[in-house]
Amino acid sequence: MASIRLSPRRLSCAAACAELEGPGLGGMVVFAGRVRPDRSRVGRVAALDYDVHLAPAARALRDLARLAERRYGARRIVLWHRVGRVTTGEISVIVGAACPHRAEAFAAARFLIDELKATVPIWKAERGRPARRPRRPPSRERARGSG
């Protein structure tokens, strides 16, 4: 049983946990990825824009879930990804798997996130914000001198 979601709405780790409950499932692993305020060529990253080709992406996620069910005996799977702008500090992706035993749950969750990144038509673009304090603010004198 897989929960697939591609949506601009916020993702909740707690909601993902709820999807993975089941009495015979001895191990569940949830991974959540969060947008970090890294430095990059856009300056400090303020957000990521996720572009998603929806129909092929949803199909790829369903295929991925079936593969994890077969390969790791996963009985509950979560594959959720945000679409559109995700600001720094927010969760962009959650994957999770519940299996009878813990080793399979870890392997399945790792497989899901690695394959999601490599095989699902989703792209991210960094969006920056201007640095709040530029390192060398143009002084009045210098501005006048060059004017």
Binding site: P56, I122, W123, K124
Partner: protein, 85 residues
């Protein structure tokens, strides 16, 4: 059936072209996907490097042969290397 195909540009291809979609005229008998890609690269030189590393979908199905013909009304999608998460 409209006389154009729709070219959808994703991720870095969209950023390079500055648009998410183009209408592209194709003859009624269609145009080989390979020729469409070459024409796109000529019309949008900034898109050319991305096109060289992309895969292509015709009506949501991955194209394994670029001899396949794109016809009016078809949707042709450009998929640069994926990078979600």
């Amino acid at each position: 059936m409209p006389p154009d195909a729709t070219v959808r540009l994703f991720g870095p291809a969209r950023e390079a072209a500055g648009t998410a979609a183009l209408r592209w005229p194709v003859p009624p008998e269609g145009l080989a996907a390979r020729d469409l890609v070459h024409a796109l690269a000529r019309a949008h030189p900034r898109l050319a490097p991305t096109l060289r590393v992309s895969r292509f979908l015709l009506n949501d199905e991955l194209l394994t042969r670029l001899a396949r013909r794109v016809r009016p009304g078809d949707e042709f999608a450009v998929h640069p290397p994926y990078g979600g998460g």
